[in-house]
């Protein structure tokens, strides 16, 4: 499957036609995520991963460990975090730290909304999903915004 991701390349045809041309290059979709994440998504998740690393380091002395072999994060479905981008950035950010080479486990907490009209709770996939019980569009988030480190396996 190919999809046009709109990579813009300017080309000059020499003096006869000096106008830059915009060319969209089709890219194979299974090779795509890394490129896209690097440029567009990972920056946000990189900051969060840097926080993960700092939190690990802050616990190393008090909890008496020198190496982390597994990190479990809880990421809510309605948080602004993309688990794939976290997985992609994890190894890079942990390199040279206590968690160099550690396994990353992400548990996703589902989104739950409380309806303003009928007062019932239902599962929501996005922040703008209506109440699944009565269809009312106004729903408050009660679960799914989490971004937490749950636990570690340490040596």
């Amino acid at each position: 499957m190919h999809r046009n991701i709109g990579i813009v390349k300017s080309m000059r045809d020499g003096i006869a036609n000096p106008v830059p041309r915009v060319t969209a290059i089709p890219v194979k979709i299974d090779k795509l995520p890394r490129v896209i994440f690097l440029e567009a998504v990972v920056m946000h998740e990189l900051s969060l991963l840097e926080n993960v690393r700092e939190i690990l380091e802050s616990h190393a002395q008090s909890q008496n460990f020198a190496k982390v072999t597994r990190v479990t994060l809880e990421i809510g479905k309605l948080s602004s975090v993309e688990p794939e981008a976290m997985r992609f950035g994890f190894d890079v950010v942990m390199k040279g730290s206590l968690a160099d080479g550690a396994e990353l486990v992400i548990t996703e907490a589902s989104g739950i909304g409380l309806c303003r009209q009928c007062g019932r709770q239902s599962v929501i996939e996005t922040l703008y999903d209506p109440c699944a019980e009565c269809g009312c569009p106004y729903v408050d988030v009660v679960q799914g915004a989490e971004m937490k480190i749950k636990d570690l396996i340490v040596i």
């Binding site: 946000h44 969060l48 939190i55």
Partner: protein
């Protein structure tokens, strides 16, 4: 390394005995692999930022500073909005501005040209302001008591939504040239904001932007969001925004 089984032993090969029926036998001991132990952490990823944000918030409260975190995509008109706000409120309330951009002092220069103190934070690689940097900027600015502090975040509708700076409200600016479905495309930001300013309304005749549809989308993401439509450059309905500011500041005292 043991060349036969790759077990890491430095002993000569002769030290190994291999008995077919028993498999591979070593005279040296393998260390028992340490399977590790579990440490419960249960800590927010943004805990550190949130702690700085709380510090800023209590500083603002003690000094009656009304802090706003202005967010939008690049080019929605945040800086022009601020310049016009400064002109409109001149003599009524002291204003200070923190400008966030990845590079350049351009925006802070535009604010300073109005005679208002401004500090520029260049975030470099980062795509958002954080509470720690804002705390330092507040000290550097020496924000007066009873001021309006406008923090113009990096133009980005994604990342700044997660980073609390200690502000009273996030204000999202959306211009009519951007498309009325932005609240659904970037729901986190519209969920985090308390007020949406629909800017550049003077351009409505030239663009396909439905204000009602945009407002409906924003309310689906955030039922409590307040919405003000205005044009900073032409002044249309601009007083609705400055009235809101003054009313909020009045409530602080």
């Amino acid at each position: 390394m043991c060349g036969i089984c790759g077990c890491g032993s430095t002993e000569p090969k002769q030290a190994h005995r291999f008995v077919l029926s028993q498999g591979h036998h070593h005279q040296h001991d393998h260390d028992e692999p340490d399977t590790g132990r579990m440490v419960k952490i249960e800590q927010e990823l943004l805990g550190k930022n949130n702690a700085y944000a709380m510090q800023n918030r209590s500083y603002f409260k003690d000094h009656h500073i009304f802090a706003l975190n202005l967010v939008s995509s690049p080019g929605a008109g945040k800086t022009t909005l601020l310049v016009e706000t400064i002109k409109a409120l001149k003599g009524q309330v002291p204003i200070a501005v923190i400008e966030g951009d990845q590079q350049t002092e351009h925006d802070a220069d535009r604010i300073r040209a109005t005679g208002t103190p401004a500090v520029q934070i260049n975030t470099g690689r980062a795509c958002h302001l954080d509470a720690h940097g804002v705390g330092h900027a507040v000290m550097e600015l020496g924000v007066q008591d009873n001021s309006l502090l406008a923090i113009e975040n990096v133009g980005n509708l994604v990342c700044p939504s997660s980073f609390d700076l200690g502000e009273a409200h996030k204000v999202v600016v959306l211009s009519v040239t951007e498309g009325d479905d932005k609240p659904l495309k970037y729901p986190d930001m519209f969920h985090a904001a308390d007020l949406m300013l629909i800017n550049k309304t003077d351009l409505l005749p030239y663009v396909d932007f439905d204000i009602e549809r945009c407002s409906d989308y924003a309310r689906r993401v955030n039922p409590d969001i307040r919405i003000i439509r205005l044009s900073s450059t032409k002044g249309e309905n601009f007083s609705a925004w400055t009235d809101w500011l003054l009313e909020q500041m009045q409530a602080l005292v």
